[in-house]
């Protein structure tokens, strides 16, 4: 090898090493970013998902469960944030519940990172920001951006064909890592299937009455701004949607879970447990195929001129203008929807009712911002801060 050739190799290898190190540091930081949770006055216990299914114990998906138990007995509602981690309104709404909520009657179980593995990476080739920060009066709180699917570092490779268990329905191969295609799970399946199975075990053992799975959707997706409900919850979801649309100042509809579309929480949880299963969809332009550059600002403001243009061509299922869909609107929709669902459930089932206080409704979150409802970890009492 000549001296010139040797120098050429060293220069190119150095370039590659620089790329590898800079990208590697960013990915590693993103995967290990600790997200503080300041336990609110209503949190009475923090448990782990692995307590309900041993094979999940100690894995990346052994997520925390925040129990908020009222003094008066009643029903149990489980709210799931982070089934799809790249839909941050669901996770943030769960955070708002965990840090602010107080349950007077019944029991609320809050999950911030249902598929924790999915929160540790961003979409391959999507150029997503590794994290995002929510401004507060005392500084800011930073969260992992996350992805729709379980991190391939935790479940790999993907098969050519994904056959859903137990229906044997063929689904898109990449959805083998999608928690919301893995319900009701399989005890000896993939990490994603085991995670769903662990949640099903928890739902059955804790006698959960209602499960609400919080999501966001692109505006080009027809299932948007809606409550998707299992047939067991059709009346409750319809009443809740009517009340929200009439009283809260935002439009939300109801969709009935298709009987033959498998793997989704609104179908399988209701089919495989006594619980009523619902799924909330809020609009997130950041996920649209016609979006602009995937910046943190676009994620939080929900403003996107390209998506607006798509709307002008009649390609969207939800309205959008230059004001976009700010994160406060999306989080507020979720907090109000859950509170309304709890109220409607209580009206129909007074003996198994819930009474939740301290959680802001849509108008409050829009007026004050999400950051207003996130507590300062540095001033929290000792033992009140834990990490997701």
């Amino acid at each position: 090898m000549t001296r010139r050739l040797l120098v050429q190799k060293i220069v190119v290898a150095a370039l590659g090493l620089a790329l590898l190190v800079s990208a590697g540091i960013s990915f590693r930081r993103s995967r290990n970013l600790a997200e503080p949770v300041v336990l609110g006055p209503g949190v009475t216990a923090v448990r782990q998902l692995g307590e309900y299914f041993a094979p999940i114990r100690g894995t990346i998906n052994d997520c925390k469960l925040y129990f908020m138990e009222g003094r008066e007995p009643g029903g149990t509602i489980l709210i799931l944030g982070g089934s799809h981690a790249e839909e941050p309104a669901g996770r943030l709404a769960a955070w708002v519940f965990a840090e602010n909520g107080v349950v007077e009657k019944g029991r609320l179980i809050v999950v911030l990172s249902a598929n924790r593995s999915a929160s540790t990476m961003t979409r391959l080739g999507g150029a997503y920001p590794p994290s995002f920060s929510i401004p507060t009066a005392w500084g800011s709180r930073t969260f992992r951006m996350g992805d729709r699917w379980t991190n391939p570092l935790d479940q790999w490779p993907d098969p050519e064909v994904f056959i859903h268990y137990p229906s044997r329905q063929e689904l898109a191969y990449v959805d083998v890592r999608n928690l919301n295609r893995a319900w009701p799970g399989r005890p000896n399946g993939t990490l994603t299937e085991k995670t769903a199975y662990a949640f099903m075990e928890m739902i059955r053992r804790e006698h959960v009455d209602v499960v609400v799975d919080m999501h966001e959707a692109e505006l080009q997706y027809p299932v948007i701004s809606t409550i998707v409900t299992h047939q067991k919850g059709q009346e409750m979801a319809t009443m809740a949607a009517m009340m929200l649309s009439d009283v809260e100042g935002f439009k939300i509809g109801t969709e009935f879970s298709p009987l033959t579309l498998h793997g989704l929480s609104h179908r399988e949880i209701g089919d495989h447990s006594p619980a009523v299963s619902l799924l909330l969809e809020a609009p997130e332009p950041f996920l649209d195929a016609t979006r602009g550059v995937t910046t943190e600002e676009r994620l939080l403001t929900g403003q996107d001129e390209f998506v607006v243009k798509a709307g002008q061509h009649g390609l969207l299922f939800e309205k959008i203008d230059e004001k976009g869909w700010p994160i406060a609107l999306r989080v507020g929709r979720h907090t109000s929807s859950i509170l309304q669902i709890a109220e409607t459930w209580t009206e129909d089932n007074p003996a198994k009712g819930l009474s939740i206080t301290g959680v802001p409704r849509y108008a409050d979150v829009v007026a004050h911002g999400v950051g207003h409802y996130l507590k300062n970890p540095s001033t929290a009492a000792k033992g009140k801060v834990i990490y997701e």
């Binding site: 190799k9 190119v12 370039l15 590659g16 790329l19 590697g24 990915f27 590693r28 490779p157």
Partner: protein
């Protein structure tokens, strides 16, 4: 088990890319091999 095999495949392809990088005499090819190698190493080192 299949995951271990896939990591072995990644290691093998990484090795082939490094051998080709050392053998090549054109800088354009060197750059190409390095760019292709980076995602393989990120997976091998469990970074992405």
């Amino acid at each position: 088990m299949v995951t271990v095999l896939y990591y072995a495949l990644v290691a093998f392809v990484s090795l082939l890319l490094i051998v080709n990088l050392l053998k090549s005499r054109r800088w354009e090819r060197d750059v190409l091999y390095v760019l292709v190698l980076v995602p393989f190493l990120l997976r091998l080192f469990r970074l992405k």
